[in-house]
Every structure is written in structure tokens, then in C-alpha cells.
């Protein structure tokens, strides 16, 4: 009795079983890898054609993209909504800054160390949050609390220079090993592009891996996944660790690019908000959402910064104020959630399928 004769599904009218269904011609993973390769190729010559000011915006966009790809792994693919990714960004920034300033360790090594520290902390936070079954808003609040805790600890600890933070010592000339170049050097852009490209590559491979399928299943229905033998805790912790590690790379590179980091820049809640806003606008749980969101928010943050520096006459009251970028993100976030709840990429993908 393995034949299918006589077995037809009744139910929704119009959902005839005779509908021809074919497998997609190109595996999604390969399609996404091809798109990534094209994007990278197009982006490589950008710093050579853009004016220097725009080059800085491009680097900022890539830092946003790194953070966003990291956040999306956990909150999008894994469905564990984090409001505290500043914790991992900050750990990446501080670990690499500390190692460089105090022990003259290359920021590349510092970056790896920062990834390890962030992943380890994420596993601890995750373990307790999952152990006590925090979900949804409660989970988000717990991650926020941990990030704030880290910010306060760093602000009051001698060893991390309290509120002052770290200033990266300048070297003479430029050095790839120290990730230091002339301010307008395209090298910053290429390094950031390489890191962001690698992060996107990892997120694509992760999503389509065996592990990624388990993670998706746990997000869709945790009890069902467990009942089918999925070790839920292990895969959630792996997801959280990967997400934290990617976000730590953003922090480490950020410090190296701006040559300066302090508790608010690294662990402040606006960092977490940036990560969230980028992905929500671009499309949660999609591969390209974080990238599209980063391009939009990165450019916007430049526009708002310019507005604050030299506001046109009718916006004179903005002169010298700060925080406009966050206000703009908030408005944009509300609009997107209201009009395109799946984000830009999510909405386009849904239309495409229909």
C-alpha cells in the first residue's frame, strides 16, 4: 500500500491536487550566492569613483550592514527578537580596542577575540533566557537589560577607562596589519566590504545548512521541532553565538575606522536600535533585508548629520542638537511597520511569489 491511487485531498475548493508543481530551477542558495558575488563586484570600484565624503557614507553603510546581518541571524532566522545587540557590538569594539591599546595586539586578532567574547557572552545570556523560557517581549527586555548592564559595568570599571573609553593610537604611515590608513583611503571601504560580504556569505550558507533548517523549524514551531528530535537549546545557542560574533566584527571595525570608542558609542541603546531599525526596514528574516536597510539608513544618517551641522534657515532650531538620526529612524520604522510589515525586501519577495 504505497501507491497513491485513490488518495486525493479534498478541502479548500480550487486547490486541486492536479496543479502542476515543479521544483525551482536553481537552488535558492546558489541564486543568492550569485547575487552576492555580483553585488560585491559592483561595489569594489565604488571608492574610486565616489567623492571622499560619499566614501565615508559608504563605509558607514557597510558597518550598518554588518550589524544588521548579525542581528538578522538571531532575530530574523531564529525568531529571537533581540533588543540588546549593543552588548555584542560593544564587546567586539572594546575587546579589540583594549587589546590594541594596552597590549599592542593587531585589530585583526582583536576582532577574532571580540567575536569569541561576544559569542561566549551571548551563549550565557541565551542559556538563562531559554532556560527560564523567556519569549517575545520578555526575551527582548532581558537582552536589553544585559546590554545596559554591560554599559554600566564598562562605564564604572578602571580597566576599561570608565566613561573615557579608548582612543586608538595613531601610527605613522598606513598598515594593513593595524587596519590604519589615510582618512580618505579606499582601503577602509574594501576591508569593510570584505567583512560585510563574508558576513552575508556566512548568513546565506547558515540559512541553507542543516543547522539553518533546524533553526528555521524551531522559529516556526518550537514544540513541533522538539517532537521531531531537534535539540532546541543547542541550536538556539548556536544561532545566538553566530549572531553575536558577526555583530562583534562590526564593533571592532567601527573602533578601527573612527579611532575612538566609549561606553555610549559601543553599548548605548541607540546601537541596538540601529541594528533593529535597519533589518525591520529592509525585511526581517530575509537575506537582503539587512543590506537594503543598511543602504537606506546609512544614507539617511548622513543626511541628518548634515542637517544638524548646517541646517537650512527654516530648521535653524536644529543647530547643534543631536539625536535627529534616531528620531528619523523612529518615524521611518513606524511607517514601515504600518505600511510594509514585512519590510521592503519581504514585501517585494511576497509580491514576486504571487
Amino acid at each position: 500500500m504505497t501507491g497513491t491511487t485513490g488518495i486525493t485531498l479534498t478541502g479548500r475548493p480550487g486547490a486541486g491536487a492536479a496543479r502542476p508543481v515543479k521544483a525551482p530551477p536553481l537552488r535558492p542558495q546558489n541564486r543568492q550566492l550569485a547575487v552576492l558575488a555580483v553585488l560585491l563586484l559592483v561595489a569594489v570600484p565604488l571608492p574610486l569613483v565616489l567623492p571622499p565624503a560619499q566614501g565615508a557614507v559608504a563605509v558607514r553603510i557597510l558597518i550598518f550592514a554588518l550589524m544588521a546581518v548579525g542581528w538578522n541571524v538571531m532575530s530574523g532566522f531564529g525568531g529571537m527578537f533581540s533588543f540588546g545587540h549593543a552588548a555584542f557590538f560593544g564587546l567586539g569594539a572594546y575587546t579589540s580596542a583594549y587589546l590594541l591599546v594596552e597590549h599592542n595586539v593587531s585589530p585583526w586578532i582583536g576582532m577574532l577575540a571580540g567575536m569569541a567574547v561576544a559569542a561566549a557572552v551571548a551563549v550565557v545570556i541565551g542559556y538563562f533566557a531559554f532556560r527560564y523560557r523567556l519569549q517575545g517581549a520578555y526575551f527582548a527586555l532581558a537582552t536589553f537589560a544585559f546590554a545596559e548592564m554591560l554599559r554600566l559595568i564598562v562605564t564604572t570599571t578602571e580597566f576599561t577607562n570608565k566613561a573615557v573609553g579608548f582612543t586608538v593610537p595613531l601610527i605613522r604611515g598606513s598598515s594593513l596589519w593595524k587596519i590604519q590608513f589615510a582618512a580618505d583611503s579606499p582601503a577602509y571601504f574594501w576591508i569593510a566590504l570584505g567583512l560585510a560580504g563574508l558576513a552575508a556569505l556566512v548568513s546565506i550558507l547558515f540559512l541553507h545548512s542543516r543547522t539553518g533548517r533546524y533553526v528555521t523549524a524551531i522559529r516556526d514551531d518550537e514544540p513541533a521541532a522538539a517532537s521531531l528530535g531537534t535539540p532546541v537549546m543547542r541550536y538556539k545557542l548556536m544561532t545566538v553565538a553566530l549572531s553575536a560574533a558577526i555583530t562583534a566584527v562590526a564593533g571592532a571595525f567601527y573602533t578601527q575606522y573612527y579611532l575612538f570608542v566609549n561606553p555610549d558609542l559601543a553599548f548605548g541603546s541607540s546601537v541596538s536600535i540601529q541594528a533593529i531599525a535597519t533589518v525591520v526596514i529592509g525585511g526581517i528574516g530575509t537575506i537582503w533585508g539587512p543590506i537594503v536597510g543598511a543602504i537606506i539608513l546609512g544614507s539617511l544618517s548622513d543626511v541628518t548629520a548634515t542637517l544638524l551641522r548646517t541646517p537650512p534657515g527654516f530648521l535653524d532650531f536644529l543647530q547643534g542638537r543631536s539625536g535627529l538620526d534616531v528620531a528619523v529612524y523612529a518615524v521611518l520604522l513606524i511607517l514601515i511597520v504600518r505600511l510594509l510589515p514585512k519590510g521592503i525586501v519581504g514585501t517585494i519577495a511576497a509580491r514576486w511569489r504571487r
Partner: protein, 253 residues
Amino acid sequence: MSPTAGTAAGTALDVAGVGKDFRGLRALSDVDFRVGEGEILGIIGPNGAGKTTLFNVICGALRPDAGRVVFGGRDITGASPDRIARAGMVRTFQLMRPFGSMSVLENVSLAAQHRRQSRHGLRKRSLDVVERVGLGEWAHCGATELPTAGLKRLELARALAMRPKVLLLDEVLAGLVPAEREPVLDLLAALREEDGTTLLFIEHIMAAVMRLSDRVLVLDQGRVLAAGSAEEVTSDPRVIEAYLGEEPGGDDD
């Protein structure tokens, strides 16, 4: 009451003195039975009798307050659901729980991927299972596009893809029209014949219980009211009374 398995083969599952309270409300008390390897055990009882709670306790979703669950000679009381499933005891849910972002085939692959195997082997095995439950034409559809009957089969397919030694089915026939039930019943019978799978199934449709079960366990208010062949239990006055005089053989159509 003689709740021992009548088969000569070994014991697949031994539930000993299991009890479960929900904030003082007694959901299960002193539930005691064994299932032999390759046996098919039907579980019936009025609504709220504790049938699904019993499944939850056996499969690790709930920890019992008393008693033990022994599966294949190993005490698995309080083990996590995923470990029990990987050990070979798999359950389906009464309310279907598809992975909504995946296709039918991907849903099944997820259950089949615990064994290390080539991508090709995994795909082939998953397709085989999808065909076996009659969802072949739907393999590449989104799981949420399936009608109720299809979702029921998807639940079954995912469980089968685990190659379970013991399969616990929570009302697989509910929501199916009679014509849809037949092939499912044939499939379940074939599972025992061909794969030697031990089956425990909760079911309200008595015709199916009569046809498939070697033995029937009747639960009422969290206790084992009766156990025996389908004929024995349906003629048991206590069972008839538990159903408030309504004929337990009455079909819901």
C-alpha cells in the same frame, strides 16, 4: 484488569504508575500499562479524560509527578522531547503544527535529516515518505497551503520520516471525511506489517479503533478504566457508563 501485553515479543513501552497534576487538578493518576513490540494500542475515552496529557508525559513534553516511563528498556522519565524522539519514539499533534515557512518536502526533510546522509539520499528518503502518505503532488507547495486533510498527513509524514520504533498518533483521523480515512488506516496497518512499528493511537472514531487495535485502553478522568480487546471494552458496562450511555461505536458522521 490485566494491563500486560499479550505478545510474545519484548515490551516496547512500559508506563508504570504515572500521575500528573495541574495545580491540584488531577489529570492522570496511577496510569499503568505496557505495549508490546509491534502491538497496536488504541486509546479512547471521553473528552478531558487525559489522553493527550498521557502522550505529553510519555514523550517528554510534560514531566510526570509520579511513576515512570520505560521505553525499550530505558527509563526515559523526564527526558527532553527531542531526545525521546531521536531514541525512536515519535508523536503527532492533534492540532497540526506545520513549519509554516517551509514546503511540504522541507517539513519532512527536517525530520529525516537527523541521520547523517548525502543531500541526495535525504531528498530521496523525504520524497519517498511524502509519496507514501499521498502528498506527492504537494511536495513543493508551502505547508500552509495544504487543506486540513493534507496537514494531517504532513504530521504523519514527518513522524514517519523519523523511522520511529514507537509512533504515538493523536487523532490522525479527526477532520477527515470517511473516504480520506481509509488510506490512512491502510497505511497504519502497513506500518506494522512492513516496518514492525508499534502504534499507540488516540481516536474517537470507533470504527477505526475496532479495525486497527490489538488492544484498547480506556481512560476516564485520568484513570485507566478498562483495557482489553475492542470487543471486551466496548461491552464493558463501566465504559458504556463513562460515555453517559451514548454508544461508543457511534460514528461522528
